[in-house]
C-alpha cells in the first residue's frame, strides 16, 4: 500500500479527480495548502505599496492505492496536472504500514 501525495495547481484539481475516478481509483482527501518551490512567490500591489506573497495557494491530494496501482495513478496525476509552466507542483509516494476502515474495522488492503 502506498500513499500518493500530490501538490498541484488548484485549477487542475477537477481534472485530476475525474481522471483518477475514470481509472477506478476511488477516494481521495483534498486540502487547500500554500507553499513555494521554484515558482517562488508573487508580488501584489495595494494602494501603490508592494507586498511579496511567498506562499502561493495549491491543492494537496492524498490518494491511498494498492502497490499495483501506483504507476497508473502517478501517470494519471502527472498528465492531468501538467500545464508545462513553472509551478505545476510535485508528487510524493510513501509506504503505508496499516489502513483501517473505521466503519467495518477492515484492515490492510481490504480497507483501501
Amino acid at each position: 500500500m502506498k500513499l500518493i501525495t500530490a501538490v498541484i495547481r488548484p485549477s487542475r484539481l477537477d481534472e485530476v479527480k475525474t481522471a483518477l475516478v475514470d481509472a477506478s481509483i476511488i477516494g481521495m482527501t483534498v486540502s487547500e495548502v500554500r507553499g513555494f518551490g521554484r515558482q517562488k512567490g508573487q508580488v501584489e500591489r495595494y494602494r501603490g505599496s508592494e507586498f511579496t506573497v511567498d506562499f502561493l495557494p495549491k491543492a494537496k491530494i492524498d490518494v491511498l492505492v494498492g502497490d499495483h496501482q501506483v504507476e497508473t495513478a502517478l501517470s494519471i496525476i502527472e498528465s492531468a496536472a501538467r500545464s508545462g509552466d513553472i509551478g505545476d507542483g510535485k508528487v510524493f509516494v510513501t509506504p503505508v504500514e496499516q489502513v483501517v476502515r473505521v466503519r467495518t474495522g477492515e484492515r490492510g488492503s481490504e480497507a483501501i
Binding site: 501584489e44 500591489r45 495595494y46 494602494r47 501603490g48 505599496s49 507586498f51 506573497v53
Partner: protein
Amino acid sequence: MSLQSSFSTRVRRPSVGFPPSAIQTVANWRQKQFGLLQALRNTSTMQRSGVMLLAAGAGLLPMMAGAANAALAPGKTDGADTLLMLIGSALVLLMTPGLAFFYGGFTRAKNVLNTMMMSFFLMGLIGVVWVVIGYSLSFDSGFKSPFIGGLGQMWLNGVGGELGDAALAPGFNISASSFALFQGMFAIITPALISGALVERINFKAWFWFSLLWSLFIYCPMAKMVWGGGYIGPFGEIGAIDFAGGTVVHIAAGVAALVSAAIVGPRTGWPSGKRPPHNVPFILLGAGLLWFGWFGFNGASYFAAKGAGFSFVATTFSASAALLTWCLIEWFRDGKPTAVGAATGVVAGLVGITPAAGFVYLPQAFLIGVAASAACYIAVQVKMGIKFDDSLDAFAVHGVGGTVGALLTGLLAVPALVPADYFPKSAEILARSGNLGLFVAHIKAVLISYGFVGIGTAIILWIVGAVVGLRVTPQEEERGLDFVSHGEEGYEPMTY
C-alpha cells in the same frame, strides 16, 4: 449678528414668531427653486431660483435659521422635502456599515470583527449620544456662543413641535425632526472614519471613551461652528461654506486620524510585518455602499426635493471622475488598475465633492473629483514613503481629500449658487473679492479646523490614555483583536 438667535427657538414653538409678512408662500418659493436647467439657460433668473435652495443644502440651514433672514419665507413643512430627509437619513446610516466593510476588508483576518465593530458600535453609542445631547450641543443656541450650542434641545425636546412635523426654519421646508435625524447619521459616521488610523492595536475600551468624548467635544462644536450659525460658517466671522461636511466630517475625522495615529503609534512590527488586505471584495462592497449612501449625505443636504437632483449628479459625477483618475494613475505607473485603487478613488472623489456638491456645476465637480483623487493618491504614497502608520489612510483620504475639496470649493464656488439669503457672509465675500476672497476664507476655516481638532484630539487621547490606556499589548496584537476584544473570531472554518 443674529448668530445666536436660534432657529431652534422657532422650531420648538412653531406657532410663534413667524412674521405674518412672511406669508410669501412656500409655493411661490418652491416655484423659484425649479430647475437648474432653466437657471443654466437664464443666468439672471438663476440668482434667486433653485440655486438658493442648493446652497441651502449644505446643512447650512441651521445657520440661516439663526439669521432669521427676512428674505426667506417662513418654513412650512413640505412632504416631499421631508421625505427626502428621511430617505437621506437611511442612506447615510447605511454608510456606517459600508465603512465597516470597507475598513474590515483592509485588515488582517484576525482583526476583521474588531475593525468592523469600531464603526458598527458607534451606531449604538453615538446614536444615543446624539439624541440625548449631541444635537442640542450642535444646533441649539442656549449658550449664545458661536462655538457650541446649548442644552435646550436635549432628548430632541421640542424639535419638530408637538407632532414632530414643524418646519425647521424660515426658508427650510423640511421638518425639524427629520433634520435632527439626518444630522445624527453624520455624527455617527464621523468618528467611525477615524478608526481607520487606529485599527489592529487600539484597546476597545479606549475606543469607546475616545469616540464618546470626541463626538461631544470636537464634533458637536465643529457642527455648531460650521453649520449651526457659528464662527466658521456663512453667518459667522469667517464665512466659509461647507455643503455636506468637507470640514465638519472629513477634515475633522482626517486630522483626528493623523493626530491619533501619531500618538497611539504604529502597529507592532509595522511596516516590515505589513500584510495585504485580507478581503478585497469587502472593500468593494463597502465602497459601493458608501457611494450609495453618499447620495443621501450630499444629495439630501440640499434639503429640498425638487432641486436636489443637481447635488446628486455632482456627487456621483465627481466619484466617477475620481475612480477613473485613480485607476488611470495606477495603470500608467504600475501597469495595472487595481480594485482597491478603484474603491479608494471613489471614496476620495466623494470626500472631495462633499463641501462643494451644491455650490458648483458639473465641470467644477469633475475637476474636484480628479484633483481629490490625485492628491489622495500622492498622500498615500507619501505616507508609505515616510513610514507613518495611518493604517487605512484615514488622513490620506479623508483629511487630504476634505482639505482639497474645501479649498477648491472656495476657488470654484459659483456665486449664483451662494445666495445672500442663505449665506450672507459668504455671498458678501464673493461679491467683494470674488472666489479668491472665498478661497482665503476657506484657508482660514481649514486652519482653524486643523488647529481645533488637532489639539482637542490630542487632549482627549491623553486623558483616555491616562485613564484606561490606549493600546492592547503586543501579545494581544499578535493573537488578534477579534478574540482579545470581543471573544469572537471572524472566520472559524473548522466549526461545523
